[in-house]
Subunit: 400 residues, 2 copies
């Protein structure tokens, strides 16, 4: 339908969300049916304040540069739409003759589009709303995976591989290394670090996802067994780990001296610190740890080329769908072949995605709950790619 | 002098220390004066246990692969040499006819070579001992910079640049981002993050090095001024920060609820957490933080090509010096021109380097103690390189 378009970015950023933005801009600017392409400055919050950017006035260099720039160039927001906001949004859509409505985001964002589109239609205003998937957490329903996840996963895989080589070489000093990934409810990013492994002795040795309760005794048993076997151990923990009783591993247990409230306010930041403390106190060994937090959402130099391409393609696809008169969908990626990897774009109804988080299937975590399965590796490998080949010396020891 | 050679790696690793090892191996294997090239498995500790690897038996692929493999492939150690160890070392040197003795390491390592070389000469055993500089901390005397530092600095620069773009785009949610670098006594790595800045508004806005006492009130004043001006603030803190009274910022003050002892045992890990807490409590704003710890010591995909080359060159140079009959020196890098950058290898006596850490000169930190000077940027730019160009939208706002 003839009219203007608006695009916004929402929620936490990724290394490739600007590629999706570039896809929307390129497709919309080259369409005869779309006159002006507006950008929301800081998401739906900015939209409601009429903070609209004329994206057609950006230089071609800037639009191209979006594909090599991490994070959300329009500015993002985590605003939770209230029903009272809908009339205001409709008013602005009408004022700017916007008929094509795109948001790049996660499940909350899909809820926003869903409600805006539904409200407009109820009010007799023709609006085509399409969602473009984005989240490093990989927790959206209806799509094989989410743009942004493969690149974030690669960042974590590289970090764990490299810190593992370091820990192996430093085993006379430190006996363990703990790497904390984000992922409050789903362990996708922690699980992805398994791809760092070429040999059994490589990092990581133990991976703990929030899908399974964290058992301190089993953990200590497994970590000590690895130290015994390899001389060191690499452990990956997801920020959302919970004990069997539902209490967070990031919080303190009543028996220790940490301050619950302080750590609670830091979110899951202290999972890594607490697991570090547990292992250090139990074994007396020193260890390393890393908490990279949001760095995997913006490390574009480590982005996966496939991910950048798919993100761009999702942006374009959303515009094509909207121009074909489709509305109320999120663009999806459907894997049609695993080896070699092939995929095509599809769609799923926004209501299928909105406000729901897809946990990792049970089949992807081993029965002991301390590592992933081969099936997980097969699913992720085409997305995340191979880990670089770091050599190991053959070590021909001289006879004494 | 005709004989065998031994090489070891010592202390914390870097992304390029294996390049120095490859330089030693390549130069030693191609020399007619050196018969066998031994590697110490886990440093001088392994040497004393006669854990010697015949490096001539490694495949050419492995030796070449060292130059793209991070950390210390021989295995490292932090063993502090005792005088009682010297006779044992001499005995092994004699047993294996080792005349050329190379260690790649920092100031403790240079002390080890110095003492071994001196002892052997006193005992009438001809030994040529040369040190190859290595440390991400850049705190060795007598050299323009230390191999390993540029690559670690680049890792931190990229992380701060990328997390800054993220923080800027997320400023409606989080108002600050804190990035913690390693550097117990010297602020070189924290200071290097200044190279992430292209425009005044770019990250980082504030850098705190251990060379200057941390003043909580001035910090809050400066951080709030940045938030006011830019809408957000990027803060870099070095793990070794101290308050005016000499107490570590990583430890708790008596007035708060953290557990000193716990955090003390984590080293400086809690500087970032504590500064995060200080800012959150004072302003009520949310913020991000990242503690990457040793990841900058092993991120070879972010290594600076110049650094890899210089590290390799230092390894070769050490062998050439030893073969020329020189002993008791550490290879150095002497900058002969800044623009364009040119450097040549030199030497400094081991005693000039041993057991001393070079702090950043006063001239590299601004008078307020919250950022670096232009002079620091000029010194570091050729080593660390440019930050990638991440685009900013021109933001042509539509008139309401």
């Amino acid at each position: 339908m003839q009219g203007n378009a608006v695009v916004g970015q929402s929620g936490g950023p990724t290394a490739v969300i600007n590629s999706s933005l570039a896809g929307v801009i390129d497709a919309a600017l080259s369409s005869k049916d779309i006159d002006t392409v507006y950008g929301m400055s800081y998401g739906i919050e900015g939209f409601m304040a009429e903070m609209l950017i004329d994206l057609g006035k950006e230089s071609p260099e800037v639009i191209k540069g979006l594909r090599s720039t991490p994070s959300s160039a329009l500015g993002s927001s985590r605003y939770k739409l209230a029903d009272e906001d809908l009339p205001k949004i409709l008013e602005i859509l009408k004022k700017y003759s916007i008929r094509h409505f795109f948001l790049i985001g996660g499940n909350d964002t899909m809820d926003t589009i869903h409600r805006v589109e539904k409200y407009c239609n109820e009010q007799g205003y023709e609006l085509y709303g399409i969602g473009i998937p984005k989240t490093v957490d990989n927790d959206l329903y209806g799509t094989d995976h989410t743009p942004g996840f493969p690149s974030a996963a690669r960042y974590n895989m590289l970090s764990v591989a490299q810190s593992g080589v370091l820990a192996r070489d430093m085993q006379k000093v430190d006996k363990f290394v703990i790497y904390q990934t984000i992922g409050r409810d789903a362990g996708w990013l922690a699980a992805a670090t398994a791809l760092a492994k070429r040999d059994e002795s490589d990092a990581p040795h133990l991976i703990y996802c929030p899908e399974r309760p964290f058992d301190k005794d089993k953990f200590l048993e497994d970590a000590e067994a690895c130290m015994e076997k390899y001389g060191w151990v690499s452990i990956v923990v997801s920020e959302g780990l919970l004990y069997e009783d539902g209490s967070p591993v990031s919080a303190t247990r009543s028996t220790d001296a940490f301050n619950n409230k302080e750590f609670g306010a830091m979110g899951g930041a202290s999972v890594g610190l607490n697991v570090h403390r547990i292992l250090r106190e139990a074994t007396g060994h020193r260890g390393e740890f890393q908490i990279t937090e949001s760095l995997n959402m913006c490390a574009i130099d480590r982005a996966v080329p496939l991910d950048l391409e798919e993100a761009y393609g999702c942006g374009k696809e959303a515009v094509h769908m909207s121009l074909s008169g489709e509305s109320g969908y999120m663009v999806t990626i459907e894997r049609t072949s695993n080896e070699p990897y092939r995929a095509e774009f599809g769609r799923t109804e926004l209501s299928n995605v909105a406000l729901r988080a897809k946990a990792m299937p049970e089949k992807y975590i081993n029965s002991r709950g301390n590592f992933v399965t081969e099936e997980l590796v097969r699913y992720m490998r085409p997305l995340v790619g191979e880990v670089p080949h770091y050599i190991k010396l053959a070590r021909h020891f001289v006879e004494k």
